[in-house]
Symmetry: C5
């Protein structure tokens, strides 16, 4: 049975995992979810590494909400590099679901964005794990997670 | 038989792989193409790592279209570092074919640039794999992929 | 018996470790603390690596106070990348406790912030080591170490 | 017999390798040169890795001419990090010979700079490989490759 | 017998190693110094790696003087990342002694700073190698190498 890791933070201002897990449950069966919560986004890489190595996860969603200050941007950058390195060490995908606080104009839009992006990336996880052909079919379609798709330049 | 990996994204706004594959087919025979599509450019490094380790690719084209916002530039930077690390881990070339949305003045030029750069880098892949001497012959010629060649300072 | 590493610097302007250790002692028993002090924050990663590999620490707190100049910010960035890499090499958590001098308006607030953040991160260490379920319970709660919690967007 | 790798790009606007090789030939005998040309500077790290691992080079010159745009600076940064990592993986020196297009006021000066820096770094390669004591003798002398030496503060 | 590596550059404008070695000799006996000089600061990481792996150094001082231009700052950043990675690969300390040319107001102050910082970091090397307890005693004391100590916030 496939194992999907869900790693998130106490720093985030929404329970992002809830949306991701709900989306997974609405779409697939026959898999196991492993939860892991850490304080902040810079703690995500090693949490993913541990889930791959010790819990045998097949894929992981790493969810976080970096703040809007320059130091927060730098933390997100460091976390992203760590997440990419983790994937290279384990030969497995981590889908990074980061929402930057300044991506939205207000709390209401931010909340919408978090749910929307978490759900759409949960679908990416399903595709990577069970339906890679459907990603190939969507290559170059200008898909976006959260906000509206940019669409193809050819449309 | 040599295996060429073609890795691209659903984020890109053009099916970049189509041009790359067409150019390969127009120029060489006796090789196999392995496709792999991921959501975004930060998913490219591990996809390449998997193609090298599990599908025994000999070389890979990693195609992507970063957006024009600062966060997109940072993502491209993180992806590029990951792609270089992947090459060092596998001792094989990944030709990164990134087109930044703000490289072109409008959608028409952007589309032209994508096709042109993808095709010219496909030729680089062929040279690296089958004709390394032709790259040596062009050393220092100021070649550019997509836009016009800068040319040699000695010309 | 679990071993908690406490790594700090002579560069910091407060004995951060004192607060962290005091908080640990106030909350748990049956563990061992291993101290290690280095000159500056860029010396922290290898100190942590040595504590994991040679002293068998189960988790480490890395405490530092970067200055406010651009070069200090760059040092903090380099140290953070190194700390993340160390965790990936050892599959164990390092809780980074950095206080930037320009986070506070004056020395009094800075001192308060150092103590507050060190103590709250000590509690994170306890949770990661002994009570991971309590972190899951707080996922998405907008917790902050030091300054007031940002709170959940849903409250 | 010692093997010196010479890795360069088709992106560069001068055949930098020509100057480097000429300088080597003018100064030493009893060694072998291995050429390798890649499209751009981000392809240099893996080319060096391959030359070390598969062609048993003892030292490598990595020659490139980054452009003057911000994206070019970023590419140079990524390439440099990759070149340093390659050295750490192989325990051998790579002498990076990069000339940024905006280092010179015009094409004539740029051409002079390329030749001058390539030749002076070729001498560094000779010293590292055959005469490490002569580098120690010049420690702290404010040497520069290409432009005039800055000189010692004590002179 | 302990071995201390001293790695420096021909780019630096002062023989930094002289001060470091003099300070070591004034304070301890019964150790061996291994010198290694490279062209620039980006050559320091692999030089340290070689000294650890092939000359069995127990600790290394990496001395350099980055220039004041943006490209020099970037080189220092790349070198620092490489030095941290080297330490993680070898589980041994490298004390980075960098003096940026723009840290001082004039050449006289710069020269003073170089000597002062090199000597004070030599004492750090001695502490790390022989007297780690004295570093713990100075934790949080706001020590600085070169310029005046910032001191403790509690004083």
């Amino acid at each position: 049975m496939k194992k999907i890791g869900i790693v998130d933070t106490t720093f985030a201002r929404v329970d992002m995992a809830k949306f991701a897990i709900d989306e997974l449950k609405s779409n697939i069966t026959g898999y196991k979810i492993i939860r892991y919560t850490v304080p902040g986004i810079k703690d995500l890489p090693v949490a993913c590494k541990i889930l791959f190595d010790e819990k045998e996860c097949d894929i992981i969603m790493a969810l976080g909400m970096p703040g809007s200050k320059p130091i927060d941007k730098q933390c997100a950058h460091e976390a992203s590099i760590g997440l990419i390195n983790t994937q290279l060490l384990c030969n497995k995908h981590i889908i990074e679901v980061f929402i930057h606080e300044d991506e939205a104009e207000n709390d209401k839009e931010l909340l919408w964005l978090v749910e929307s992006r978490a759900r759409e990336h949960a679908l990416n996880v399903i595709d990577l794990l069970f339906k890679p052909q459907s990603l190939i079919k969507n290559a170059g379609k200008g898909l976006r997670e959260g906000f509206e798709d940019a669409g193809s330049l050819l449309d």
